[in-house]
Amino acid sequence: MTKLTTLHDAIKEYVHDGDLLYASGFTHLIPFAAGHEIIRQGVKELTLARATPDLIYDQMVAAGCAKKVIFSYIGNPGVGSLREVRAAIESGKLDFEEYSHFSMISRLQAGASGLPFMPMKQTGARDLEKQNPNFQRVADPYSGEEVVVVPPLKPDVAIVHVQRADSQGNAHVWGILGEQRLAAFASQHVIMTAEEIVDESVIRSDPNRTLIPGLVVDAVCHVPFCAHPSYTQGYHDRDNEFYLAWDEISQTKETLQAYLKEWVYDLPDRNAYWEKLGPEVHQRLRAGERFSQPVNYGEY
């Protein structure tokens, strides 16, 4: 029984008003197409969790999808500020819950591992601990010293973009791995978008590369270029010009809403978006070829 469906239908079925959503991918494989589809469907009151909200959550906050963000770094990576999220926090219009990178992903690790908490060594810094009651301390029973602990994060739904998957959601992922795998295992439901849908035999040719197994995946959507303006290793480059441009676009409500209208609301799907970017952008973002050397699993 295939899990293949359209991104439209997957979002409709698994993303609901008020959900806790984790759109995963650390700088790499960020599922922008899914964010845009959520905006188009007008989902509201989401709690948006991501280590780095990046432009995807800036856009979703601007579109009114969110009531809260959970994060560990709100910047436009390599560029500067993330204007919408920052303004919404400064003005008190958006709830937020803040971590450091490691305490954030430790929450996912606890969620993915079925643990009630994950310990981490002290960092000495206590100001964030004082502001966020989710940080607790427990005594190490061996030395008596305190460690910091964080509770599990268990999103209602995770969205993960992968390079190639079969129709059951068994997925090969390579390049920067971020918190992708933990997000999938921590969440109640998983929507997978894939650059390529491949035959099961391709997946089975390299089982050590399968970081997300179909058994935790609910829906598989074939969405090439899903990650633009972030990137998909081996498929297309990061569109750094757009990251720079966003700093301009997001300076005023008008330019921002005009962007959303032109590039999200007025387009039916990612195909239309990619076509609209045009051949020059396609050309600029092309990834060349540098293949892995094969390994022999052996025939036994």
Binding site: T27, I74, R86, R126, L177
Partner: protein, 254 residues
């Protein structure tokens, strides 16, 4: 090329590079720390090992990485792992010798604020937040801070301790039980600050042509200086050539 002409950023990169030791395992960010590491590798520290918080070990980027997760860091790297692995197996385990830090404010005891100006719940300016710097500051064996020297960046006390230096000084840092050694130097465009035995940042070197008064003017506390405060060697022609011609020919960061 005139070897005696250089800009403040080049000066910071060169001085940061010189602090690295051959064989160091370094937790690198993009921008100036990345340039400093690559410069050190091409000069006195050929065995430097660079780790990126995105999970990349031993990158050989074919271009200047513009983000911490640039795909050119991955292609041709020695190893790529998950974020949990990079923070646990490398950083928390004690396998990282050097971390680089920056922030909006650095105070008298090397504590850093990258979170908020004003009150946390009612911010004047909301900054990006910790990212990985809380853990890097705590767990790297030693840290270097690189930042331009301006009074607003060097208050006596930070509004928020995102990541720690020596807290209130004395044995305050050690008493937390944190594993790393804390900041060893702050490299600015005016000179180099280092912690004294009490953990207070004092002027340890001046860059050529800068005097103590200039540094004091740009520092938010009564600055001490080491006896016979030395002057740093100016950037060498070779250092500048590597930086300008090989590492950042488009002058994105310098």
């Amino acid at each position: 090329m005139d070897k005696l002409t250089y800009n403040p950023k080049e000066l910071m990169v060169v001085n940061a590079a010189r602090l690295l030791r051959d064989g160091d395992v370094v937790f690198v960010g993009v921008g100036i720390p990345n340039l400093a590491c690559n410069l050190a590798m091409r000069t006195h520290a050929p065995n430097l090992q660079m780790i990126y918080e995105a999970g990349v070990i031993g990158a050989q980027p074919s271009r200047l990485p513009l983000s911490i997760g640039d795909p050119s860091l991955v292609t041709g790297a020695l190893s790529v792992c998950s974020m949990v692995d990079i923070f646990t197996l490398y950083l928390q385990r004690g396998n990282v010798d050097v971390g680089f830090l920056g922030g909006a404010q650095i105070d008298q005891f090397g504590n850093i604020n990258a979170t908020v100006i004003g009150d946390y719940q009612n911010p004047k300016v909301r900054l990006p937040g910790s990212g990985g710097s809380m853990e890097i500051a705590g767990w790297a064996n030693r840290c270097y801070i690189i930042t331009p020297h301006q009074k607003r960046r060097f208050p006596a006390k930070v509004d928020f301790q995102t990541s720690i230096g020596f807290l209130d000084g004395g044995d305050a840092r050690a008493k937390t039980g944190v594993r790393g050694g804390g900041p060893e130097a702050v490299v600015t465009d005016l000179g180099i600050l280092k912690p004294d035995e009490n953990g207070e940042l004092v002027l340890a070197a001046l860059h050529p042509g800068v005097d103590f008064e200039k540094v004091q003017e740009n520092t938010g506390w009564a600055l001490k200086q080491v006896q016979n405060c030395p002057v740093t060697d100016p950037p060498l022609q070779d250092e500048l050539r590597i930086l300008r011609e090989e590492l950042d020919p488009q002058r994105i960061y310098i």
